[in-house]
Symmetry: D2
Subunit: 397 residues, 4 copies
C-alpha cells in the first residue's frame, strides 16, 4: 500500500492479512453487534476464531515470540486497518499492540507467561491505565501531572487514583497501571500489572465519544485501594516514565499504520463513487473539483506512507524516535483527516450517511488527531527540540 | 451575537429566544430522548409546550402571519441555534422554516389554513420531498435530474418516484412533493401538498447519518402511485423550479443562522475550558497554540455573522440572492466547521467525547457543509456567474 | 466595490477617485520612474498635479479640514488602491494618511498650519519614526521595547536613537518622532514634530524590500543628538503611547482599504485572463480548478469588504477599536494574500512576470501581512482579550 | 539533508558541494553582480573557476560521462541549492541540468562532443526552446498547442515561431528547439540543436519576473526562418514529444531538489533568528506561534525530502515516473512555499527585506509553483490517471 513490503516474510503476512480483512472482516461492518463502543465480545470472538483459522492472529508477532521489525509491522498493520474492525479481528489493535510490545520488552518470563501469552493468542484483551481526568488536574497530555499514587504496604503496593479515557478497560483481562511512586522534585512512576476485572478497579462509566471502533470504548475508572503484590511490578520500580517512552513511539506509530489503512479504504470507496456517479452531465471525477480532491488524496496518502516507513526505520535503527514519531503522528493524522474529509465531501449525502464506512473513518480519524497527543502538543515538543538543536548548532537534518 | 439586532422588535424577540434556549432547552441536551435521529416526538412536545408558555414559538413569524425581515430573522435564528435542540423547540428548524416561508409566499388561503397554520402553531411538522437517490440517477445536487413524475389522471395527479434524504419525513404531518410535470427539452416541475402519513408515501428507511439533530432524521421514501387532488397543487402547475428558487436562498441562509448559534455555543464552551484547565504549567489559553485558535474562532465568527447579515440584506432588498446565498453558504459553513474543529481540538479528550455538546456540533456542521448544496456545487455555480459577468463587462461588486 | 458607498458625498468622491486612478494613474504603472523604492519625486509631482486638476487630491479630507467618516473613507481609499500608485497620486497613502489623521486630532493650531497643511495640500510627504532595529533589541512589534530617548536640555529636547523601517523618510518634509521620556516601571513616551531633512536625522540606508510601492522606501535612520524645541512636542509630553493608539486602528484599517483595492484589480486581471485564454481545449475559467479559485476570490473579497466596513463603523462609533482593527487586519491581509496568490496561479507564467501589476500586488500584500503588526502579534493580543473577557464573563459578541 | 546520502560516492560529492556552497558561494549573494535576471556572466565565470578548483563542477556527472543515479543526484543537488547561486556556480542548474541529461540520453556521439561537452565542463550554458506565448494560443502548460513549425527545405529544416519564457536564452551557447513536424490529428514534434547566439534566433526581450536566480532570465524569442541542417536534429525526427517526456520527470524533480536546499537555508536563517531575538519578554521561538511554525517547517521539509527520494527511486527503477514526478512536484513545491512563507513571517520586517536571502527564496519558490507545470495542471493529469486506474480496477498503490 503505497510503499513496498520491505521483506518477503512481511509481504506474505501482509497479503494474507489484507485478503482476510477484505473478504472476511469487511462484511461484519454491517453487523448490528458493532456498537458505539466497538464490537461486542461475541463479535470479537467470532471474528478471531476465523482469524486463527486463516493464520492471521497477531500477525506481527511470530510463533517464536519475536516481533516483526517496525518497517515490516507497518506493511502488516496498514492492511489490518483496511476495516475499522480489522485490527480487533487480527489483534493488531490499540492498546493491546502497544501493551504486548511493552510486555515483550520489559516483562519477566513469569509475567510474560501469565499476562502476555493470552494476549498474543488473542484470548484476552488489555488496557493501559495512564491518562487521568484533566478536570481534576490529572495527567492528560502532560504526564508530569500524574496524580494516581502507589505506596508500599507490607510487601504489596496500594494504588489510589482516578483514570480517564482508558481504552478497552471494559472487557479487558490484563491491565497495566501507571502510578506515582516517588515524591520530591523529580516525580517518578512505576507500572503495575493487574488481572481484570478486579473489585478495586471500578469502572465508573464508559464515555460516549465520536469514535466507535475500540472494543470496550474509553472508560473512566476509580482505583479504590487497589492492592498489588510486588511481583506484579512491571520491570523496575520508579522506571515507569522510561517504560512509557519505550512504549510511546511504536504505539504512536502503529496508530498511524492502522488508520492509514482505514483511510486508503475510504479513498477506494470515494474513487469508486466518483467514477460511477454523474452530476451536471458528467462523471463526478471528470469535474476538476472532485478530481483534484482525489489527486490530493493520492499525494497525501503517498506522503503519509513515506513518513510511516521513515519513522519505522528510525525505530528499527534503535533510536527512541521521540521527535520522529511526533513528526509522523502530526503529519499522518492531519493528512489522513484531510483525506477522509475529502472522501466525505466527494460522496455528498452518501458521505455523511452510515451506508458506507467512510463516515465512521472520518469520525475515527478526527479522534486520532487527539489520541496519543494532540497535534499541538507534538508541535510544542518539536519546537523545544528545534530550539535545543539550534542553540547547540545541530543542523536540522 | 457578533452583530447588533437590526430593530427593537427583533432585539426583544431575540433576547427572549436566547434566554429560553439557554435556560430551558440546554438542559434537555442530556435527555435520553435525544436519539440519533433527533429528539423524540414526546420530547419535542414537551419542549414546545414550554416554548409556547414562554412566548417563543415560531418567533420569526408574527401573530398576524407576517414574517420578520431576513435581517431580523438572522438575529432570532442565531439565538435559537445556541442548542442543537433550540430550533426544534421554538420551531425555527429546517425544513419547516423553509416550508412555512414557501407556503406563506405561494399557498392559497385555503392551503395556508389547512397546511401552514398547524405548522406555525408548532403543532405539526413538515417535510420537503425534493432530493432523489443519486445511485438511481436521481436529483441530488443537480435538480435537472429530477425523476419523480406526476401525471394527470382525471382531475387528480398520480405521483411515482423515490426520494432520499427527506429530512423530518418520519413524524411529519405536512409534505411538499416535487415532481416532474413536463417533458421535452426544458423539464418542468410542480409542487404538491400532501397530508402525512399517507399509505402511498412509504417510508423505506431512516438513514443513519453523522448528524443527529433533525427530528425524524433523513428518510428514504417510495412514492407509490400517490394520488393528489388538483387543489393540492402548490401555486401553479409547472412552476416548481421557480418556487424551489423562492425557497432556496432564505432556507440556505437560515441554516447558516442556526448553525452560527451552535458554533458560538461550542466556542463558549472551548473558551471556558481554556480559561480553567492547565497543561504544562499554565492555563491552556496562555499557550499561544490554544490562544491563537480562539482568536481565529473570533475572527471566523465575526466574518460569518457579517456574511449572514449581508446576504439577509440582499434578500430583504427583494433580490433572489442566488449567488449571494451561495457565497454565504460556502463561507459560513466552512468557517463554522473550522471553528467547531478548533473547539474540539482545544478540548482534547473532552472535545471528542459526548460530555459536552461540542462533539455533536462538529458532526452537525460537517453535514452542513454538504446539506443544501456541497461547497463545490456552490463554487461551480459561482464560477459560471463570474464567467457570465466578466464576459458581459460587469464588475465584480 | 463589494459594499455600497455609505453616503452620497462619499459616492461622488469615490467615483471620481476611481475614474482618476483607472484612467490617469494606471498608465503610469509602466513608467520607468517606478523604482524599487516607489515612484520618484518627479513622478509623484506629475501625478499629483493631475490629481489636483481632477479634484481628487487628499479626497478623504474635505476643504474645511474635516475628515470623512471611516466608513466613507473606506469607500474612497479602496478605489484609490486600484493601482499601487493610486494612493501616492491622490495622497491617501501610508504613512501620510495616518500622520495627517493624528495631526488633525492632536496638533495645536500652529502645528497644524506648519506641519499638517502642506501634507493635506499634497505638497509634502511625511514619515513616522516609531519602529526600531530588532537586532539591537529595539521596538519592532513590541512598543514597550522603545529605546530611543528624549531628554530635556534647557527648553529643548535632545533625542538619540536608531529607527528602522521608517517608511517614506527619504524625501519627506515632516517627521513625527517617538521617543521614551519616562523611566521606571511604566515607560512613557512622547511624540515630536520635526522638519525634514535635518542634519541630525541621518538616513543610514534605504532597505531593499519585497514591496516597491512606498515613495522613499523604508529607511534606517540615526537620530544623532537631534535637538527639538518644546513647541514641537506633539500634543502632551508623556502621551506618546496614547497618541500611538489614536493613530493605530485607523491607520491599520486604511492599509486594508488600499490593498483591498489593489487586490480587486488583480482579480479583475485574472478574470479577464481566465475568460480569454484557453488550455486543454477550453477557456481557463471553464476548468473548475480555475473557476473555483475565482469563486474563492469572490467570497474572500466580499468578506474582506464587510470586515473593513464593520471595523470602520466601530471606529466611527467612537471606540478605540483595538481588537476590531486587529481582527480586520488579520482577516483582510490574509484574505487579500490568498486572492493575490490565486491570481498569480491562474495566470501562470504571466502571473509571475511583471507584464501585469498582479506580480507587484502579490509582493505588496505579502509585506502587508507583516507591516502594522504581523498576523501572529494580532492573534496574540486577541487571545489576551479573549482570556480577559472570558474570565470576566463577557460574551464574545 | 533530512535523508541520508544513498551511497558513499554521493556522500563524498554532496559534502564537498555543501562546503563549497556554504563557504564560497554564499558570500557572493551580496555581490552587486546578482541582477534581477540572475548573476552576470562575469560573476558566473568567477564562481565557476572556483568550483572547478574545488572539484565540484557539474558534480552529478562523473568524469567518465556517466550520471549519478537520481537518488544520488538528489543528495548532491539539494546541497547545491543551499544558495540560489549554488546551482549556477556548480552547474546543476535548470535548464542546463535537464538539457545535459537529455543530450546524454539521445544525442549522437558527434552531437555530444559538439554540444554536450562544453556544457558539462561548465564553459557554456544552454536553453530549451519549448514554451510559447499563451496570448498567441501557443504551448504553455499544454504542449499539444505547439505552434512553432519546422519544415524541410532541401536537406535543411526551416523553423518559424515564437517562444516565450525561455530560461537562460540570453548568454546561452547551446539551444534545443522544439517544433511541430507533423500535421494531422496526432501532432508530432522534433527537437533541433542550435548554436547560440544565432541571427535568426531573435531575443525580443527578457521578461521581468518575480524570481531572479536564473542567469539570462526568461526570454521571449522570435525564430525567424531559422535554418538548421539535418545533422542537428536531436535523435529522431518526430520523436520530440517522446524526448520531452524523457527529460520531463528528472528535470521536474531536479527543481524540487535544488529548491529543497534553498528552503532548508531559509529555515536555518529563521531558526537562528528565532533563537536570538526576543519579543514580549522571551525568545521568539519560545512563543508557540513561532515555535509551531518551525515545527511545521521541520515536518514539511522531512516530507519533501522523502517525496524527492521516493520519486528518484522510481526513476532509477526505469519507470517514466510521470505521475510520480507530478505528485512530487505538487507536494514539494507547495510544501517549500509554505516553509519559505513561514520563514518570512517569523522574521517580520527582516523577512520581507533583502538583508537576508529568505526574501529571494520566497520569490523563487513562488515561481516554482508555476514553472514546470502549475500545481493545477499536475492535479488535473493525476485525476485522469486516477480515473483510468479506478476504472481498470488498479488499486492506488
Amino acid at each position: 500500500m503505497f510503499t513496498p513490503c520491505p521483506t518477503e516474510r512481511s509481504r506474505v503476512i501482509a497479503d494474507r492479512v489484507e485478503r482476510f480483512v477484505r473478504d472476511v472482516v469487511v462484511p461484519y461492518e454491517a453487523d448490528p453487534r458493532c456498537t458505539a463502543h466497538g464490537p461486542t465480545s461475541e463479535l470479537i470472538d467470532e471474528m478471531r476464531a476465523k482469524a486463527r483459522a486463516a493464520g492471521v492472529m497477531t500477525p506481527h508477532i511470530l510463533p517464536d515470540g519475536s516481533h516483526l521489525t517496525q518497517l515490516e509491522t507497518a506493511a502488516v498493520l496498514k492492511r489490518s486497518g483496511l476495516s475499522p474492525l480489522g485490527p480487533v479481528a487480527v489483534n493488531t489493535m490499540a492498546p493491546d499492540e502497544g501493551n504486548m510490545f511493552l510486555l515483550g520488552k520489559v516483562g519477566t518470563p513469569a509475567q510474560k507467561q501469565r499476562f502476555l501469552e493470552p494476549l498474543v493468542r488473542g484470548e484476552a484483551r488489555s488496557a493501559f491505565f495512564m491518562t487521568e481526568p484533566a478536570e481534576e488536574g490529572g495527567a492528560g497530555s502532560d504526564p508530569s501531572m500524574l496524580q494516581t499514587t502507589a505506596t508500599q504496604d507490607g510487601g504489596d503496593w496500594m494504588i489510589r487514583g482516578r483514570k480517564k479515557f482508558i481504552t478497552g478497560a471494559e472487557g479487558a483481562r490484563v491491565g497495566i497501571v501507571m502510578a506515582r511512586t516517588g515524591d520530591g522534585e523529580h516525580a517518578q512512576a512505576t507500572m503495575f500489572l493487574v488481572d481484570l476485572p478486579h473489585p478495586a478497579i471500578r469502572l465508573e462509566r464508559v464515555i460516549d465519544t465520536i469514535d466507535s471502533s475500540m472494543p470496550g470504548g474509553h472508560a473512566q475508572i476509580l482505583l479504590d485501594d487497589l492492592r498489588v503484590p510486588a511481583d506484579q511490578v512491571l520491570g523496575e520500580v520508579n522506571e515507569g516514565f522510561r517504560y512509557a517512552q519505550v512504549r510511546l513511539s511504536p504505539a504512536r506509530l502503529s496508530h498511524c499504520m492502522r488508520w492509514f489503512g482505514g483511510t486508503v479504504r475510504a479513498d477506494e470507496i470515494a474513487r469508486a463513487y466518483a467514477t460511477t456517479r454523474k452530476a451536471f452531465g458528467k462523471l463526478l471525477i471528470d469535474h476538476e473539483g472532485v478530481g483534484f480532491m482525489l489527486a490530493e488524496n493520492l499525494i497525501d496518502l503517498q506522503q503519509a506512507a513515506l513518513m510511516i516507513d521513515w519513522c519505522a526505520g528510525v525505530l528499527d535503527g534503535g533510536a527512541a524516535g521521540t521527535a520522529e514519531s511526533s513528526m509522523a503522528k502530526v503529519a499522518v493524522s492531519e493528512a489522513l483527516y484531510r483525506v477522509a474529509d475529502r472522501c466525505v465531501q466527494i460522496m455528498g449525502g452518501l458521505g455523511v450517511s452510515r451506508d458506507t464506512i467512510v463516515e465512521q473513518i472520518l469520525r475515527e480519524v478526527r479522534a486520532f488527531r487527539i489520541y496519543d497527543g494532540p497535534t499541538e502538543v507534538h508541535k510544542w515538543s518539536l519546537a523545544k527540540k528545534i530550539k535545543r538543536d539550534t542553540l547547540a548548532g545541530t543542523p536540522a537534518r
